[in-house]
Every structure is written in C-alpha cells, then in structure tokens.
C-alpha cells in the first residue's frame, strides 16, 4: 500500500504528478532551489487547465528533511538527473524509485546511486509551468509504467492505480521496453527536428508530398529508429510514424521540450534521447547516419550559446 510519495524534481511533469497525487497520498517534493521549496510549503501546488485544485505538499531541498516515502518518482528533467540522483543517494532505503525521464538510461543513472527497487515509466502528458506553484495541465495523455529492477508487474500496477485514482491517466505494462522504445524513437525524431528548425510539432512534420519535405526526413529518422529497435530485440508497441502523424492532426501546435530549451538557450535532453539511440544502435551495429547527424547538430547548437 503506497501511502507516502516523494516527487523528486518539480518541473512540469513532477508538479503535475505531485499536485494530483496530493489528493490521494501524503506527498513530499524534493526540489533544487530553496525558494521553490519555501513557495510550495507556503502556497501549495495549484493545478489549472484540465484540473482545478491546489495540492498540499511538503517540500525541501534536502531529502533528510522529508518523511520516508514508499515511492519516489524521479521526475526532474534529464539534464538535472545526475544532481537529483546524487541528492537521493543514501536516503529512503525502503522506497521504490520510478524514473519518468524521456529517452533511455535514466533508470541506470539513478540505479547506480543506490540499491532501491526500480520502476521504469514514460509519460505523454504535458503542461505549462506558470510559476513555481502553478502548473497548467494541458495534454491528458497517459503515463506508462513497467518493472525495471527488483520489481514486478504487480508493483507497476499498484503505482498506475494510484496515479489513476489521483485524476491522471496511467497504464501498467509487464514489459515497458516496447512502449519506451516507441516513445524514444518518436522523441529522438520530433524533438531534434524541432530543436534545429524551431518549428513546433505541426503539420510540416507529416508533409511528404515533394522531395525536400520535412516529413520525408521524419520518416527516414523513424525508419532508422525502427531498425535499431529491431536489432535490440524490441517489438515496438506503437509505430512512431503513426504517433507523429496522429500528433500533428490533433489541431494544436505542440512545443516539444527541446524546442523550449533551445529557445531559452538551456541545455537539452539530447544525450538521454538521441544520444541514447545512437549509442544503442552502435552497440548492435545498426547504422543510424541521420540520427547521428542530428545529434551532432543539436550538440553544436548548444555549444553556440557559449559564444
């Protein structure tokens, strides 16, 4: 029975989880900045958009000040993962940890800091952060959860049920990798193309009428990803090309996080996403020249900020 949850990292995803779970569990939040912790303790965490309530949470920058949780959801951005994982090291020995970062490899980054049982997850929900204490719930798509280390499908179900009871969408998988890889390929393609073109994820990404159309590149990138997945023995849960087409037909323009990062001249999650795909492909000997090119271009674009 999960009674206490600690959400580590309160960006958009962490805030949406903490704000909702506060309705059904005792929620603490581990954040990076002292003033963020103070604001959360003082005002709570307001959910707007598709939700309308304020969750009461206990926040701190130091895990020692937080009660021992049953579940820790590591929800920071991939770029903060190392810092947050370091802070968790040595704490909460009885808890199960669940990562929700994009890409591949977050479980291993966290797992290297402690012997906690681990769950994997990927999330498709999205929101807009208006302040430290107010996040708008935008896309009410699901979070998918599966076992990773010393956990069982039943553990994944228990967490999914808890999340669903809080008003968010979630689903448990016996093996998350097919879904995780579908999203990996989708994100590696869409995020990197958006970061380089500064186009939001819109109809251009599915345009395949003429030579030079962006959709043709997107499809080639997806095909490279599929080949890498096949070589890793993964049977994809969803076709990333269809995910792309479907998303561009929703009628609103989505700003992938990597696009927001380059616009704000912040480091992107390219290492955990495209970098992970390129390294996996190298491990299995599958050529992914287009993903490799995009990986190099995005890293170079990040380097240009330091000029």
């Amino acid at each position: 029975m999960i009674k206490r949850v600690c959400v580590a990292g309160a960006g958009v995803i962490g805030s949406l989880l903490a704000g909702h779970l506060a309705k059904v569990a005792e929620v603490s939040v581990l954040v990076r900045r002292e003033e963020h912790a103070q604001a959360l303790n003082e005002h709570g965490l307001r959910m707007s958009g598709r939700a309308d309530h304020t969750g009461t949470v206990l926040a701190s920058v130091d895990p020692a000040e937080l009660p021992e949780p049953d579940l820790v959801i590591v929800a920071c951005k991939g770029t903060d993962l190392g810092v947050i994982a370091d802070r968790l090291a040595g704490h909460f020995p009885a808890a199960t940890l669940m990562t929700v970062q994009n890409g591949l490899g977050a479980e291993d980054v966290v797992g290297a800091r402690g012997a906690w049982p681990l769950l994997s997850s990927v999330t498709f929900m999205s929101g807009t952060r208006h302040s430290d204490t107010n996040v708008e719930y935008v896309l009410d798509t699901a979070t998918w959860i599966g076992p990773y280390r010393a956990t069982t499908p039943a553990d994944a179900h228990e967490v999914a049920d808890l999340i669903v009871s809080s008003g968010l969408k979630a689903e448990a998988f016996d093996d998350l990798r097919p879904a995780q890889w579908s999203k990996l390929i989708f994100n590696a393609t869409v995020n990197a193309v958006a970061a380089l073109t500064e186009l939001p994820h819109d109809f251009h990404f599915a345009q395949i009428d003429e030579l030079g159309d962006l959709g043709l590149l997107v499809r080639d990138l997806v095909d490279e990803g599929k080949a890498a997945a096949a070589a890793a023995g993964i049977e994809l849960w969803e076709d990333p090309w269809e995910m792309n087409v479907h998303a561009t037909q929703r009628g609103h323009r989505h700003y992938p996080s990597m696009l927001e990062d380059v616009e704000a001249h912040r480091p992107t999650e390219i290492e955990l996403i495209t970098g992970a795909l390129v390294r996996e492909a190298a491990r299995t000997g599958v050529p992914v020249p287009l993903h490799t090119a995009l990986y190099r271009l995005v890293r170079a674009k990040e380097a240009s900020y330091s000029e």
């Binding site: 030079g212 590149l217 080639d220």
Partner: protein, 306 residues
C-alpha cells in the same frame, strides 16, 4: 559591347562597377531596389575594400528601359532568377546570358527564357553598405563556359571573359565550367547550412571533429553526384574548407546562410543541397545527408511563417 548586369546586389555590383570602367563597354545595371538605382544614377557606383572603384553604369528598375544587349550577367539570389530573367529576357533577344550565381540549376532556368546561356562561377564577395556603395570583401576568379543544352558560342564567352578581366575581375573562359561550379556548390552546401542550423562560425564548425565529419559526409555525397555526371572537380572542396577555417582566413566568418537565417531572409538552400539532391536523383546517386540538411533548413524558413 553592351552588357546588362541583372540583379545588382553585392556580386552584381562588383561586375557592374568594374566593367563600367572600360571605354569600350556600355554597362546597364538592372535592380529591383529603387534606392540603389537612384543612388547609382546620381552619384555612380562605388566599391571600397579589396579595390577602390567609382564608375557610372546606367541603372534602372524598369526592364522596359533596357536596350538590346550583347550580354547579360545574372547575379540575383538563386530564388529570384526566374522572375528577373522573365522581366529582362527581351533585352537579350540577340545576346547571350551568363549566370554568376550560387548553386546549381540557375542555367536551366535561364534557358527557359533565352537562347544562349553561359555557365559561370565566381568567388569574389562583398556586401552592400548603402545604396550606391558596396564593400568589396574578397577578390577572386570567375570561370565561364557554355551551358551545354543551350550553349553560347565559345568566341562569345571569350569576349565576355576578356572584358571582365580587363575591367578588373579576372575571368577565364573554358570548354567545361562544371568543375569549378561543383567545387563551389559542394563547398557551400556542406558548410553554409551547418552554420545556419547551429549558429556557429565556419571556424567553430570545423574545429568540432564530429561536426567536421558531418561536413565531409556532405562533401562525399556531392562528389559522388559530380562524378556520376562525368564532372571533374578542379580541386578538392575539402582543401578549400580547411583553408577557410584558418584563423587568418574565415574562422570568424558567419556563412551567408547563417546571416540570412539570423535576418529571417529566404536562403539559397533549394539550389545548394536541394540542387545536389535533385541531380543525385537524376543520376541514381543517393544523397541522404544533403536531403536531411535541405529539409531542416526549409523547416527553419517555415518556422518564420508561424
């Protein structure tokens, strides 16, 4: 001899100003910018920098004013070729028309409007400082040759090359001008869009080994497309790329395409990477990296229409 420069931006102005110093050549400058045209007609066309020139070509923005010319030199940005030659073709009813533009495919566009076409590649560069005044950044050579499907006579090409050379723009007439053209297009297509997509100067692109390897990947595709057409490059684009990366050459140079992107102006990518992809298709040579880069830069242009 009467020559009309069509498109009097930086490169067109270098040709027009230098040719107009010759006594035996009457030079017309056709340009869409009325301010530039008025300044040239009032005070002449001035170059400063690599060479100091003040001369008096006749400028107009009205194609109906153009007399019959022996030669045209088209120097517009590649995406404006069709409109520019459509407006001025009547002046070349008995003449031949050369392109000194970037990219590939410009000759094909000219050939839809005029009878005799000259393939050209030029390396000098500059920028417009103010109407009537152009900064001449680098001197360089120009190569002219026949456009094979609708060629100008070799004797004509030599006459034009001779006039350019005497005017101060060293120009060679050759039987096959595709080598220098493809060397330049491969150089531009392999480096300009990388700068445009990353925001890095030429030198910083080249000092990142992984990015320099991507540049070579693009170069190799371009070389394969040239080879499939039987084109012999006059020298290796890689040499030009490494030379330009040196601190005292163009390390800090922002590629023109990066300048275009920063100013949100349309780029020439359709005629650089897009040209390599189209010619590759025609000759059965795969060009996946050029195709990817082409689509990304087009995506950048599309992002401005949001």
């Amino acid at each position: 001899m009467r020559i009309c420069v069509v498109g009097c931006g930086a490169v067109g102005s270098l040709f027009a100003a230098n040719l107009a110093t010759l006594d035996d050549v009457e030079v017309w400058a056709y340009d869409a910018s009325q301010a530039h045209v008025d300044a040239i007609n009032a005070n002449g066309l001035r170059l400063s920098g690599a060479g100091e020139v003040l001369s008096h070509p006749r400028a107009t923005s009205d194609p109906a004013e153009l007399p019959q010319c022996d030669f045209g030199i088209v120097a517009t940005k590649a995406m404006h070729t069709d409109a520019a030659i459509d407006a001025t073709a009547h002046a070349f009813a008995a003449g031949s028309v050369a392109t000194v533009q970037n990219g590939i495919g410009n000759e094909e566009v000219l050939a839809r409007h005029v009878e005799r076409v000259i393939r050209g590649t030029t390396f000098p560069a500059g920028k417009i400082l103010e109407p009537g005044h152009v900064q001449w950044d680098v001197k360089g050579d120009t190569t002219l040759g026949p456009f094979e499907p609708k060629p100008a006579a070799q004797e004509e090409i030599e006459r034009l090359a001779d006039a350019c050379t005497r005017g101060g723009m060293p120009t060679t007439a050759v039987a096959d001008a595709r080598g220098p053209q493809w060397r330049k297009v491969i150089f531009n297509a392999s480096t300009n869009p990388i700068g445009a997509l990353t925001g890095l100067t030429h030198g910083r692109v080249c000092e990142r080994p992984d990015l320099r390897a991507l540049v070579s990947g693009l170069v190799n595709e371009g070389k394969a497309v040239a080879a499939a057409q039987g084109i012999e490059l006059d020298s290796d684009p890689e040499v030009l790329i490494d030379h330009a990366a040196k601190p005292d050459v163009a390390y800090n140079h922002k590629a023109s395409m990066l300048q275009d992107v920063e100013a949100r102006r349309g780029t020439e990518v359709d005629y650089l990477n897009g040209g390599i992809v189209r010619f590759g298709r025609e000759h059965g040579v795969p060009t996946p990296l050029n195709e990817a880069i082409w689509a990304l830069v087009k995506g950048v242009e599309q992002s401005w229409q949001q």
